[in-house]
Assembly symmetry: C2
Homo-oligomer: 159 residues x 2
């Protein structure tokens, strides 16, 4: 795909970000998912609209694209997003596996605008016991028993 | 809260993980959210049930807890999860801000069971251009203009 085509779709993501300047459904972020030249999903950030802290534009667009395709995988798709994804959205991207990500604003731009993605990147890199949100491990043996029983299933789906 | 109490709630999360051994709605993972001793949300992994790659037990439990509270924040809540959260779920936790996380299986246990969280931790630590899913930056100036207009709003909500 040409850079010009990428810019076309990325501007649609920026339009979705701009929508939130008026609608105030959440932060100024937008995303679209494109497959074979067709926009199959678009979203603005909906955190405030839906009281859902996971409703970042990328996550909502991924959910909608998967619903459209009837699949939990986004092979053959490109995700366009108005801003470099936060760690949550990056994780979602790696579980959904689109072919590529095209973004506009950077992490640094987001930080300048007051969004604290950097803190989350730093926290994720720490061991659980060192994180700001206290994180405690218990019942390891009982948990491993669940995994053992799962591994013994004949028809388990790995994803 | 005593360790005994934590174990009680954590076993509820393990019960939700065990449910998926029979229901096959997704991987063998479960989570509950507790506030003032009351379970306000519980979830199994629902990735296969809903074709939603973001429907990890922690994310679904966070969404349900926020819906229950009518808030996008989980102050005063503890998240109990059958397994150490993946980067997507950790990101969701940092956006939702519960008081603490209690987990049972570790990242290493999840890897032994065939779940590839480690790959995502490694990818997130890389610069966008170095990641396995190609990641391209374009239209930085137009994106920064959206943030500028957002910063000029009188009543913007930072979260």
């Amino acid at each position: 795909m040409t850079a010009h085509k990428h810019e076309h779709y990325l501007r649609l993501a920026l339009d979705m970000a701009r929508l939130n300047l008026g609608a105030r459904h959440g932060g100024p972020f937008g995303a679209v998912v494109v497959r074979n030249g067709e926009v199959i999903a678009s979203a603005s950030n909906e955190v405030l609209l839906t009281n859902d802290p996971t409703a970042h534009a990328e996550v909502v667009a991924i959910r909608r694209a998967c619903e459209h395709l009837g699949s939990f995988q986004l092979e053959g798709c490109i995700l366009y997003t108005s801003c470099e994804p936060c760690p949550m959205c990056l994780g979602a991207i790696y579980w959904a596996r689109p072919d590529a990500v095209v973004f506009a604003a950077t992490r640094e731009d987001a930080a300048d605008a007051g969004f604290d993605d950097e803190h989350i990147y730093q926290q994720i890199a720490l061991a659980p016991g060192q994180r700001q949100i206290p994180s405690v491990q218990l019942l390891g043996e009982e948990a491993r028993d669940v995994f053992k029983d799962w591994k013994n299933l004949d028809d388990r789906i790995l994803y």
